[in-house]
Symmetry: C2
Subunit: 233 residues, 2 copies
C-alpha cells in the first residue's frame, strides 16, 4: 500500500485519482467544520461552490454556512467558524457549506474510489480508515486559493504519521516531507503554522480561537465520507 | 522582494518565470557537478537533454559527462559524480553534461531574466546573488524524474534561509516549508535526506561518498549562470 501527498488543488491530476482512496484536508477551516458539524449530529453536509447554488438549498431543515475571504456571507446562518456548529445549532439539520478551497478539492477528487474528510481533530481516525481499506491513497491538501498552505501540509503530516505508525506503507517524498515536518514540530504545531500566509490573515480578522480549536488532535473518532453529492458519517 | 519555491519541474509554469530570477537546484547531482566543474576551471558547461545531442559536441577540448539512472553513459568521459570533475580533469575544458532532471529544469526556466545554478556547496553565494539583484525570484527544485525530491527541498530551504538572513524578503508557503525543514534539520541534513526515495537508490548503487560531498555547505563562493546555451561563472 502506498500513500502519496498532493500539496494543493492546483496539483491534482484528476485521472490519477481513479480507483484510489482520498483524504481531503482543508484544516483552516472547511474540513474542520464538516467534521465538527457531523460529529454534533448534523444529518449531512452538502458542499456548494457558488453562493447562489447554496441559497437554492435553503429550507426549514437546512442551514447555510460558508465564507468568502474567511468572512460570513450575507443571508447565511453560519460563517466558516467550526465553533458555531454546536450540537444545539446543528443536530438533525442539513448543512449546506460553501467554501473557497475545501469544496473545490472534493470536486476535483470525484474520480476516487472513496473520498474521506480529514483534519487534525480526526487525524488518527482518518489514518485508520485508509489503512483499513488497504488501497493506495492520496492525501489532498486543499491549500489556500489553490496554493500550497503550511497548515494543510502539517495536518497531512499528522495523518501520514498516524498511518505509518499503524502499518508499513510506502510514501512518496512529498508525504515524507510532511511527515518529517509534523514529527519535528508535533509538540507545538501552532508555532509551525504561524509561518503560514493564511494563518496571518485569519489572525488579522480575529480568528485565533478558531485556529486553536482546529489544531486540537484526535478529539473526534469519526471520519466523514463524501458520497453521491453529500457528506455523512 | 519575494522568493517563491517551485517544488519540482512538473510544477513549473513557464510563463510565470518571465522577468524573474531563478536558482535551479538538482543537488543530487547535476547542479553540484556544474558548480564543481566550473570552480575547478572548466571553461563552460553545456547541458544536453539527449545522449546523441551530447555526443555531437565531442572534440579534443570537450569532455562528456552525465547519467542515465545515475550510471555513466557508454562513450562518456565522466559519470554524474562531482568528485570526478577535479581540477586536473576539467581545467580549461568544455563539459557537455546530460542529466535527466537538472537539464530539463534549466530548459523549462528559459523565460527567466537570469538563471543561476545552486547547490548546498554554493548555497550562501547563490542566496547573496539573488538578493543583490533585488528582483522577485523562484527557487526551482529539479526533483527526480520530474517528481518532488526531499534532497532538493532541503537544499532550497538552505538557500532560502541564507536569503532571509541577508534581507527581509517575502516568501510563499512552499518556501516557508522548505526553510523550516532546513532549520529543523540543519545539524544533520544527511539524516533528513535519508528519507528520500532518490537517496535510497543512490546508496543502493554505492554512491554514498557523492552524497557526503554534495551536502557540504558553502565550500564554493561561485554562482554559475546559464546564458545563451552555456553555463559559466
Amino acid at each position: 500500500m502506498r500513500i502519496n501527498l498532493i500539496p494543493s488543488i492546483e496539483y491534482i491530476k484528476e485521472e490519477e485519482m481513479e480507483g484510489k482512496n482520498v483524504v481531503v484536508i482543508d484544516v483552516l477551516r472547511a474540513t474542520s467544520v464538516i467534521t465538527t458539524a457531523l460529529y454534533n449530529g448534523a444529518s449531512e453536509v452538502v458542499t456548494a461552490v457558488e453562493i447562489d447554488e447554496a441559497l437554492k438549498y435553503k429550507d426549514e431543515n437546512t442551514l447555510l454556512g460558508g465564507e468568502r475571504r474567511a468572512l460570513k456571507i450575507d443571508g447565511f446562518d453560519f460563517s466558516n467558524s467550526p465553533i458555531e456548529y454546536s450540537r444545539e445549532a446543528v443536530f438533525g439539520k442539513r448543512i449546506v457549506l460553501t467554501t473557497t478551497n475545501g469544496t473545490k478539492a472534493i470536486n476535483k477528487s470525484m474520480r476516487a474510489e472513496k473520498i474521506f474528510i480529514g483534519c487534525m481533530m480526526n487525524g488518527k481516525a482518518a489514518a485508520k480508515k485508509i489503512i483499513e481499506y488497504d488501497k493506495d491513497a492520496f492525501i489532498v491538501c486543499a491549500g489556500t486559493y489553490g496554493k500550497f498552505s503550511l497548515d494543510d501540509f502539517i495536518c497531512a503530516g499528522k495523518i501520514i504519521n498516524d498511518a505509518v505508525e499503524e502499518k508499513d506503507v510506502q510514501i512518496d517524498d512529498f508525504a515524507a516531507a510532511a511527515l518529517l515536518s509534523y514529527r519535528d514540530n508535533r509538540d507545538d504545531v501552532i508555532s509551525y503554522v504561524k509561518n503560514a500566509y493564511h494563518y496571518k490573515y485569519l489572525i488579522s480578522i480575529g480568528l485565533e480561537d478558531d485556529i486553536k480549536y482546529c489544531f486540537r488532535e484526535d478529539v473526534f473518532d469519526v471520519v466523514p465520507e463524501y458520497r453521491n453529492g453529500s457528506i455523512r458519517l
